[in-house]
Subunit: 322 residues, 2 copies
């Protein structure tokens, strides 16, 4: 009577929310985008509204299929809402609903598979791995004060510190100075202090400086290039720890650098690869295979008993990134 | 009719408040101590009450002399109270009242004179200098996120990061682990996260770890020794910048490392001195001459037209530190 059911994956965070609907073969039928849905960042019911909007858009594009399994991968969702509320508000069946953090969708999306290691560097940073014995290790992710080495926040902060050192004659002049001043629309570097300490979302505000650091590096600025390279090496240290602890240094395993920072291209990937290769001789380094929303669909498929065959994943890869 | 007037100096901060009363020859007649008076840290009228208590104790010890000049050196006092309120509440004459930040009392106290450079490392860090041409430079002091390199906060933070890295197998085992766990009364390192991010006064709470880092260094822990040495080098970088910008690299000038971090002894002073000496061949490095409260008395004396002769300063040194 009904068509065969479909699988819904939602990945949400502090910037945007993406929903993907696929069939059991991994063919993507619909996609929807909406604003931020991290309930730690958006007030009241805005998180639910964003998730709902993304799902509705994907459902419309997919022709309103029935959803038999759904995976919601949004940080903190479990802490803010119980599963009955989520199912009711989003029009999803409670039985088929999986709720996870966005670390899971990012991990499986980046690997496009079950085993291997992922270094995730967005606003924060951490590394996670699973080997074929089923052992799991996760390191980093200690937040902006204690950790998050090599993250977008970390890169932005080091850019600000380079601007200050240049201003005080404690470090070389840098293109970052004019870029940062223009970004904040400041005329006096002393005002940086008020901006950084006054801003409520200083963690995300500082991460927003990452594109300026890339711009400066591409224009030949040595300070900017050094900051990104240091980030690559710090991220490599996270990945190396996971790879070693799980005994994964072989060509059978992938190590993937994913997240917004990975989009800094060779500026970050070359120092990352060099630092990993210096101690891990055999692991296969590559970029992410699927988007985090693709990873969320993978979780929905698995919840429905659909195996992650290369055929299914190949279809998902094609539509979710390509 | 009245006895010749006396000079009152008050140095206050987030930890304690000290008042010193001296005569025009620098003989200290009374001293008073009280709790914290930094109005950014203590609520309501507690700052004024602490300053008042310290002054009353010093006045009592000195035999209730008349105060003809007073210098109140407490961060943020000018922002929180107007000078009439301060004079009225503290029973001081408005005309003879000087209100400054504690950076001034610390600077003049550390130098015990007018010219030279001081690196101040307490909870935060900065360096300041004045040369004989009257030029003044100050660097650092950008707060816990943007700066404060080598400060107590910085040392405590690096200790926490070393504990995390050891815990995750990203760094060597360290004695700091057991010391930090005992300090916070934690059984699980994962709880550090909640402690550090949850604590309101995390800046001061983290600075409070400095004695543990010293304890670990003295027990032979390499991580702890390295953290303190790195702090010494970071503080040297601040001092070097000031010395160079003011052209003060000669034996005629002093460079003083002062503040709570300087009490880490050779662990911090040896790397500090080595790093300074590597680029500044002639400047005279030494410890602080007077306490910050002594520096506050110096400011009161100057406001009263009393010259900082070696006789006057010698008397102050004897009583304020000796």
């Amino acid at each position: 009577m009904t068509l065969e059911g479909c699988y819904l994956g939602v990945d949400g965070g502090g910037t945007k929310t993406e929903a993907l609907i696929a069939d059991a073969w991994g063919h993507v039928l619909g996609r929807g985008l909406a604003g931020p849905s991290n309930p730690y960042f958006v007030a009241g019911r805005a998180a639910l509204r964003a998730i709902d909007a993304a799902i509705r858009a994907a459902r419309t594009q997919a022709g309103q299929p029935s959803i038999i399994r759904a995976a919601l991968c949004v940080p903190g969702l479990r802490r803010h809402y119980d599963i009955d509320t989520l199912a009711r508000e989003l029009g999803l069946g409670v039985e088929g609903l999986v709720v996870e953090g966005d670390d899971r969708s990012s991990f499986y999306g980046a690997l496009g598979g079950e085993h291997g290691a992922v270094v995730l560097a967005g606003t924060g940073s951490f590394a996670m791995g699973v080997n074929r014995a089923g052992e799991q290790v996760s390191v980093g992710g200690w937040g902006p004060i204690l950790g998050d080495e090599g993250s977008g926040y970390w890169i932005g902060l080091h850019a600000l510190r380079a601007v200050i050192r240049a201003h005080e004659g404690r470090g070389p002049a840098t293109l970052l100075t004019s870029l940062v001043m223009a970004h904040y629309a400041l005329s006096d570097i002393a005002e940086l202090r008020a901006r950084v300490y006054g801003e409520r979302e200083s963690q995300r505000g500082i991460s927003a400086l990452v594109p300026l650091v890339l711009q400066a590096a591409e224009a030949g600025d040595a300070s900017a290039a050094r900051i990104i390279a240091d980030a690559g090496e710090a991220l490599a240290a996270l990945g190396i720890t996971v790879v070693r602890q799980l005994g994964m240094d072989s060509a059978d395993y992938d190590l993937v650098l994913a997240g917004g920072v990975s989009r800094l291209g060779r500026w970050v990937s070359e120092p990352f690869r060099a630092a990993v290769r210096a101690v891990c001789s055999a692991i296969n380094m590559r970029g992410p295979r699927l988007s985090p929303a693709g990873g969320a669909v993978m979780l929905a498929l698995r919840a429905g008993g659909v195996a992650w065959t290369s055929k299914v994943l190949g279809n998902l890869v094609e539509a979710s990134i390509g």
